[in-house]
Structure formats: C-alpha cells, structure tokens
C-alpha cells in the first residue's frame, strides 16, 4: 500500500489495488494501484490509450477487471453493478458528458438524487442548492439539449455532485473548453473537496488544469504506473517526460 493510503483524514478511501484489464490478450491496465481520500484532488494523466478511462470504468462498474480489487471506504465494490456503486457514493462524469438531453438542467441533477434514494422533493432541493453553488440557477429550466458545450460540461459536474457522493470521478471535464471556460471549471473543481467532503479523481489532458488543482498526480502509460507525486515533482520527472514525448532527449 502506498504512503498516501495511510494519510487519509478519516480513513475513508477509494482504493484500486493491482487492477488489470485484458482485452483478448491486450493489457489495457496492468497491475495498476491508486488510492485517494475525501479531502484531495487526485490527478490521473497519461498519453492517449494509456488506460485512464478504462480505470474509471472499472471503478464505476462499467468494466469488469480481469484481476484486482476496488474498495470504497473499506467495502469491496469490485463486482457491483454500476447503479449500486453509484448509490454507494461513487459518482462520475463522462468524456462525452451524456446529459439527459430531453430533460431540464434541474431534472438532470434531480435524477442523481433520486437514483441515490431521495424523494423527488428532496432531490429537487439538493439540485437547486448545487445549481446555486455553481451559479447556474438561471438556466435550471432550460433543456439540457439547448446548452452550449461549456455549460454542458458544468452541468455534468453538477449532476455528479447531486448524488452526494463520497468520491467523484471527472473524465476530461475541460476537453474542448476555451481558456476562460477552463478557468471556471478549475475554480469549480477546486472547491469540491472542501464544500462537499468529496474526493476528486481528475482525468485530464490539459496540463494547466491538472497542475492547477491537483494535490497529487499519478502518471500511467500503457496501463502501467510511471510515477506519482505532487505537481512539481511530476513536471520534472524524467520518466514522465519520456512517457509523454516518447523519445530520448538526444533524438529530439
């Protein structure tokens, strides 16, 4: 177990141990371990195809792991179906956002609460609170289908928080956003652990976002762990640079 696993504020951890996923002999993930607690923003980076989204899918039950265990606050959730993991306190966004397009923004958030077992009224109240938290209440009754791209991504994050999760997994929340929109998203993400008591696993290609909000960063390549540490260390780590540039410095 890594040293990070023991430094959690209250022992409530999201932990993946020795996760492997093989697709017909091809290893998408190969013995990967990560662990985060509810007070931190944990970055997960790696080149395209390195297995980041596969890991998110394993954690949320959408992809069965060939080997390894996932535990949420001490409970083994490895073989649970997605809806059960969602109810147990692990929430996510999708790379493709996947809003409920023909429903209103408010309803999009309500569903997360309802799915978590709240009454419709309680779910609505929580949804309104979160919209106010995001300063997005003026668009509560707009159809998700009519939102501009940047707003879609924000609603996706709001929806992930509306189920009162212990951990939220953000899968490239800043993809395709303008710099200004990135700043907004970064501010939003940075406030999540303190305001919700919710740990964040952040997958992102945008280094400005990753370096700006993450306390710890884990780098993977070809499904294997390359490095883990605070942003400063990661930026100067030669293995990381090699993983990203893919060639020896003298060849460049």
């Amino acid at each position: 177990m890594s040293e990070a696993a023991t430094k959690g504020s209250n022992g409530e951890l999201l932990e993946a141990r020795d996760i492997s996923v093989h697709f017909e002999g091809l290893a998408a993930l190969d013995g990967l371990s990560v662990s985060l607690d509810r007070t931190e923003i944990f970055g997960l980076i790696g080149p395209n195809g390195s297995g980041k989204t596969t890991l998110v899918n394993v954690l949320t039950g959408f992809q069965k792991a060939t080997a390894g265990r996932v535990t949420l606050s001490g409970r083994d959730i490895t073989d649970w179906p997605p809806y059960r993991i969602g109810r147990a306190g692990l929430s996510r966004t999708f790379q493709a956002v996947r809003l409920f397009r023909d429903l209103s923004v408010l309803e999009n958030l309500e569903i997360a609460g309802v799915g978590h077992g709240l009454s419709r009224r309680a779910a609505e109240k929580r949804a309104v609170d979160i919209l106010e938290w995001m300063n997005f209440e003026h668009k509560a009754y707009d159809l998700a289908d009519t939102l501009p791209y940047g707003d879609e991504r924000r609603v996706g994050i709001g929806r992930a928080l509306a189920s009162a999760p212990q951990f939220v997994l953000l899968d490239e929340p800043a993809a395709g956003l303008t710099d200004a929109e990135c700043d907004d998203i970064m501010q939003l993400i940075a406030r999540i652990p303190a305001d919700f008591g919710c740990g964040v696993l952040l997958i992102e290609h945008n280094m400005r976002v990753i370096m700006g909000v993450c306390g710890r960063i884990h780098v993977i390549e070809s499904g294997q762990s390359v490095a883990e540490g605070p942003p400063g260390d990661i930026q100067s780590n030669p293995d990381v640079i090699r993983a990203y540039l893919g060639s020896k410095p003298q060849d460049a």
Binding site: G89, V114, R120, I130, E137, Q166
Partner: protein, 365 residues
C-alpha cells in the same frame, strides 16, 4: 427557494394534466349537448382507445422502449371482467371450463374492473420480470411474442373464452361519461407516475441508459414497474371496452388495434402525456371526418363523396407526413405549457452556503 408561491407552483405542476382534462371535458360536454347518439358512441369508443394509448404511453413514452404487445393486456382485462360479471346461468353452459367460484361470481362492475385490471397487471409483471433485462429491441419483440402467445391461447381455450366465437351478455353500464371519468383517472395515474421519482428515473434511462445506471438508476426495476402499471391501465381499457360493447371476440385484440393505438401514440408524440391524448383526438377526429365523407357530405350545394377505402389511404398519408416533417409527433414530446409564461428562475445569491455540503455528504451511505 422558488420565486413563485406554493399555490402557483402546484397549479403549474398539475397544469399538463388539468389542461388535457379540460380539453376532454369540452369535447364530452359539446357532444353530449348535440344529442347525437352516434357521436356519443364514437367519442366513447375514442376515449376507450385513449385509456389504452395512455396505458401504452406509461411504459413506451417514459422508457423509450417500443411495446408491440400491449393489446394483450386489454384482452386479459376484458375477458376477466366477463368471467366476473356474466350471469352464472349463462357461464354454466357457455364457459364450463371456468373454476366454480368464477362461475358463481357476479361481482359489482367496479370491483370487477379493479380485479380484472389487476390480473392484466399481474401478467404484465411476470412477463416484465422475464424480459426487461435484455436490450430494448429484444424487449419490443418479446412483448409481441407474448401477445401472440396470449392471443393463441385465448383463441383456443374454448371452455373459458369461447374460442373464436363471441361472448355476449356483458352488462352494458359503460357510456361516454363513464369512460370519460375513467379517462381522467387514468390520465391522473399516468401523470403522477411520470412526475414521480420512478417516472423520472425511467425517463433518464430513456435519454441515456449508461448515465442513468451510473447515477443509481436500476433500469431493470424501473422498466418492470412501468410495464406493470401500463398493463393495469390497458387492462382498464379492456374492461370498459367489454362493458361498452357487451360482446367480446378474441379477434378484436390483434394487429389492427395494435397498429391504430401505436399510430395514435406516435402521431401525437410518444414522449409526453399530451402527445398520447392529442394523438388519439386527432386520429379519431380524422377517421370520423373521412368516414362521413365516404358516406357523402353536402357542403353548400355540392355533394362531396369519397370512394370507399380512401379514408385509410388518406389517414396513412397523414401519418407519413407527420412522421416525416415532425418525427417527434405533433406535441414534439412536450406537455401543454403553462399559459402565463415560463417558470421564474430560482433565486440566486446563496452561493457558498451549501446545505448538502460536507456534513450531510459524510453521513451518506
């Protein structure tokens, strides 16, 4: 926290139901005042279809999964009420295969309606348990397969259903007003379901099944709930059908009725209750108008008479046109909007204080 008063909020909430109820009330009152028995029977028949279509909508509209086999629950309801309300002497000779307690039974029409609809719901429930785990297309085919099964059984189960012959003698207590009251009840059931957390969860799965599952929605269970409720409501339609005509034939519950009810739902727009209701009204009215024109109608001094069969053709063209130019149906998946403007935005200004924040989240599961 809303910028509108609690009364206005409730009015707004139930407006989609109330507005449809109002439209139906106007139609029924006008037709009643016209004194035309024929018109009243046409409207009663249309309202029975409305109950069936709303029943189909409860599952199909909220889940987005096509159900080709809903008419079987209408048949189950209709025959069940016949078993419970026909004269015992009649049943002894015509339906000797019925168990003794059913032969002796002669229940109050209301009790019979509820029991018959519950039987339809029970059958729908058992089927749903078996088929709702598969994918939407497989579910659609399975509902049809189940209907074909039920149809064949009832067609050959002579000692209980009279097979291909007709059962006659059902008490004919159903008129336009009776159907109207039940239509209100059924629309209320559908609307309350659709705004409940169950309806919302199922609509989420309609929009994006993967995301719905990620947010704790057990899509299987939600589909089972909706399909069962749908069977109950369609069963009510079958009961009323039986007591409206007084006569039952298995043949009536087959492709033609399946097609016309699905066409009504799709033309109106399958994603909203208003779509279901408007679809029934439009198709019923169009069918009636063309039927009159086939009989010949004098407009001014010219007699307009369409050749026989043109009615079906025009109706088909009309449906095609709606599907091509308005694929989401006449109502486009929307309910009838509140006439006094869109909802006011939620009042802001409380940012940063969050009741659902850390403390509450920690006590969560």
């Amino acid at each position: 926290m809303q910028a509108m008063g609690p009364i206005e909020k409730q009015l707004r909430r139930f407006w989609p139901f109330a507005s449809l109820a109002l439209i139906l009330l106007i139609i029924v009152v006008v037709v009643d005042a016209s004194g035309s028995i024929l018109m009243q029977r046409t409207v009663a028949d249309g309202l029975i279809k409305l109950i069936v279509v709303v029943g189909i909508y409860i599952f199909m509209g909220n889940s987005g999964v096509l159900s080709f086999g809903s008419i079987v629950y209408m048949m189950i309801g209709a025959y069940a009420t016949a078993w419970m309300t026909l004269l015992p002497n009649l049943k002894r000779f015509t339906l000797p295969g019925l168990p003794g307690f059913l032969i002796e039974a002669q229940l109050d029409p209301f009790v019979s309606l509820i029991l018959a609809a519950l039987l339809a719901a029970a059958v729908a429930f058992v089927l749903a348990l078996a088929i709702m785990r598969t994918n939407p297309i497989a579910i659609s085919i399975a509902t049809f397969a189940a209907m074909a099964m039920g149809y064949t059984i009832y067609n050959n189960w002579e000692r209980v259903t009279l097979g291909t012959s007709s059962i006659i003698g059902l008490p004919m207590y159903v008129d336009m007003w009776v159907v109207f009251y039940w239509a209100l009840v059924v629309m209320a059931i559908a609307y309350i379901y659709q705004i409940s957390r169950f309806g919302l969860a199922l609509r989420a799965s309609r929009e994006d099944e993967v995301a719905a599952r990620a947010f704790g929605v057990n899509v299987y269970i939600q589909r089972v709930i909706a399909f069962t409720l749908s069977g109950f409501v369609v069963g009510i339609g079958g009961v009323l059908h039986g007591h409206f005509l007084g006569i039952l034939t298995v043949n009536a519950f087959w492709i033609q009725l399946t097609f016309i009810t699905l066409a009504m739902l799709v033309v109106g727009g399958q994603n909203s209750l208003a779509g279901a209701v408007v679809g029934v009204i439009v198709i019923t009215a169009a069918t009636e108008i063309f039927r009159q024109m086939e009989k010949g109608a004098e407009i001014g001094s010219t007699l307009i008479q369409l050749p026989l069969g043109v009615q079906e053709v025009i109706l088909g063209v009309l449906m095609l046109a709606i599907m091509i130019f308005r694929p989401a149906g006449i109502m486009g998946g929307r309910e009838i909007p509140w006439p006094f403007g869109p909802p006011k935005p939620i009042r802001g200004g409380r940012s940063r204080t969050l009741e659902t924040g850390a403390g509450k989240a920690r006590t969560g599961d």
